[in-house]
Assembly symmetry: C2
Homo-oligomer: 448 residues x 2
């Protein structure tokens, strides 16, 4: 689970060697620790003329205690270094207006701190007033993805598309993307829809919430349980009976409860629902983290392996959702979170079963967003790239090194990076975040 | 422009060495030659129960002279080898039904000829009757992309999403995907919308059509001119005055006309429109192939370089479209085709300007599809990956080899592969093909 190359590259002699030979240079990523400020250094905020987000975003940042250097400052310190560059591009209504992006970013391209943040704010193209505006807004994605690959030193770049009327629903997303919680998230497009956002305690946003985490005994699931508990949730940690000891330890550590249950068993969904109904009367957050692989090329695969992967990774999750919704156990403000995968986006050799199931998770997010919105529930998924776990530690060395280095961070992510992304989806502040599939992949080069 | 590694790997000793060392093994791709049958070998056609496409597709294939081995055959020759496997998955209305995919493809995984074809037919998720159906249909993408990476030997795999009511509009797409014209297209998702499709002469589908090709003096543009002329079009080949000699040669070769015009000049769009109006009274097909790069990281880029790339690759094209549409020079049945890029999808270091412009081309396709559909005009784009041209021949050797090998074909594509994809969009048979961005990249691993 350790990246010995990165550890070496962070030593004095290692750093010298890496530079001399032009080897991958994995930066130390800023990750969130309790008590950390949202971001180090001032945030430079500006807008193309007519932007509708610069004012509400400026207020959000100021209230959050962030030092904002905006265009109205007498002498904006152009040399930085800035913690983040935030640009409201919603005023660009035509491709000729894209020049404003150059004018903002060109002089600031070297004024960003290590692990700095670039956030471009736009309008979802399908909600634009004209084809010309939609074209220009879609072009923003080419810019942010290129900046993510270019700026380096652990910086990230995202495009946040804010629907008209959703201006005030953007706070949880801004906080996540600016903070060290999003260390391994880059090159993503996030969509915000209009929603009533309640008052949020940003220190313990999940206080009083019941969170179910499946596959919680180890790896990413155990870390999800930990992060949600840190954020204040009561965690119901679920795993198969065979993982009982590890599961009990996780539940104890996070002060939650353990449920041993094989979700592929008949009536398992109803037994789970019974447990949640009896103990808590509801479940606010459901994280479908349980997943398995059974890798084999299609010609050599058995039907058992196909069925097992589809059942655990997709079919069983739909069944649980249906039972929880039918029995009204997921209340308004509820959160469904799935775990997809880069293989679900791009496909993978030897993983027809896994990729089909994980593409289905994307389908579930997209197809359930509208019906669940009517009930005040959001649904989103993470799509992890190369994450340092016991599973990836067992990969052949060349594959493992390729996976680790072929991304904008030149390193693998950690389970906590996936867990923090899930915690952002789970936050009551994220009422306007639904229908999103966000990669936690350090902007992996691998894609569709 | 030559791939010496592939040439060597195709020799007897080369093949032995490649296999012994586990080196990339670029297959010889089947490419279309005049007089070729649509596909070699029988096509195996089957459907999940309730599929609405298996019957119309069976009829289309039979009329096209293809030997169809379907489930109704007394003893379908399961051992193949087949030229293509075509599976109608529209009957899958729930993720539990995905098992039908395994049942069809598992016994056939090794029954495909070299350069074989896999086509899965589905329903666009957003048009499905239920979230469960939409989830299952979205899952198909994980399967086809994995098969594209797994089956090898020059085979391709695609997902064709056919809207209800568009069953008969699928023919041009089936013909393209089955034929050697789509040699370097794999892992793609194509959407077909309902449309009136005229009678098509499949030997010379563009007979009588006027096709404008910009940037036609060399490279991909010259090949586009050639392929469209082969398909029967009168080609108006346009390029800057400095490329006059090469342009004249292309125009002569294809029996078309040459137009020397710098499209960035004031009034150039109107001068072009005047020319088309005077000579032809209209233009049926517009291929916006002209494009430039001016690569530099954003901090080192000049505003001139930013502006030049945006102007040529995006802004100027929008201006031309507007003038042609305003002056009613693009009639019903018209075809707009853009050229995007993998950099426009995924972003690229040192190409903020280029990636922004090429992402804008994607935006143009998506935003113009609906308004143009109302006029009976389609708009689509190709997104080339690594194509063997004078431009890629100049790349540093390591970058060039990485670009060539990191795809399901282990080789670069040829300009003709891009040109044939454009010709498919241009066909009168493709009236139901609009709003698509199709990568011509051999299923490059590089993505978003």
């Amino acid at each position: 689970m350790s990246d010995r190359y990165a550890s070496f590259a962070h030593t004095g002699p290692g750093r010298a060697l890496v530079r001399r030979l032009g080897l991958p240079d994995p930066p130390r990523l800023r990750r969130h620790r309790p008590g950390d400020p949202l971001i180090h250094g001032p945030v430079r905020l500006d807008a193309a003329p007519g932007g509708r987000l610069v004012d509400p975003v400026g207020k959000i940042l100021t209230v959050a205690g962030v030092e904002v250097a905006d265009r109205t400052a007498a002498a904006p310190p152009d040399q930085g270094p800035y913690g983040a560059l935030v640009y409201d591009a919603t005023g660009i209504t035509d491709s000729t207006g894209l020049r404003a992006l150059f004018d903002f970013f060109h002089p600031l391209a070297r004024a960003l701190r290590p692990s700095g943040r670039v956030i471009v704010l736009g309008t979802p193209p399908e909600l634009c007033a004209s084809p010309r505006e939609a074209t220009a807004q879609r072009a923003l994605e080419g810019l942010t993805r290129s900046i993510g690959k270019e700026f380096g030193r652990g910086s990230t770049a995202q495009l946040v598309l804010v629907a008209p009327g959703a201006e005030r629903a953007v706070e949880s997303t801004l906080r996540f993307l600016l903070s060290g919680r999003s260390a391994y998230v880059s090159g993503q497009v996030v969509r915000i829809t209009p929603a009533e956002v309640p008052e949020v305690d940003w220190e313990r946003p999940l206080a009083g919430r019941i969170a179910l985490v499946t596959g919680a005994a180890r790896g990413i699931g155990a870390k999800v349980a930990e992060v949600l508990a840190d954020d204040g949730a009561h965690v119901v940690a679920l795993d198969v009976p065979a993982a009982g000891d590890a599961l009990a330890e996780v539940a104890n550590t996070v002060g939650g409860t353990a449920v041993q249950l094989d979700l592929t068993a008949p009536e398992a969904a109803h037994r789970l629902a019974d447990h949640l109904a009896d103990r808590h009367g509801r479940v606010d957050i459901v994280v479908h983290n349980a997943g398995i692989t059974r890798d084999r090329t299609l010609g050599r695969m058995t039907s058992d392996w196909w069925d097992a992967v589809l059942e655990v990774n997709l079919v069983g999750q739909e069944r649980i959702n249906d039972v929880l919704l039918d029995r009204d156990l997921l209340p308004t403000g509820g959160r469904l979170v799935g775990v997809s995968s880069i293989a679900g986006i791009a496909g993978n050799r030897g993983q027809t079963n896994y990729a089909t199931s994980k593409a289905g998770v994307i389908g579930l997010v997209h197809s359930m967003a509208a019906p669940l919105a009517a009930r005040g529930i959001t649904v989103n998924a993470v799509a992890p790239g190369f994450i340092e776990t016991r599973m990836t530690a067992k990969m052949p060395v060349m594959l493992r090194e390729a996976g680790r280095r072929m991304n904008s961070m030149a390193q693998g992510g950690l389970p906590v990076d996936v867990a923090q992304t899930i915690a952002w989806f789970a936050s009551p502040g994220s009422a306007g975040v639904t229908g999103n599939v966000v990669r936690v992949c350090g902007q992996s080069l691998l894609g569709a």
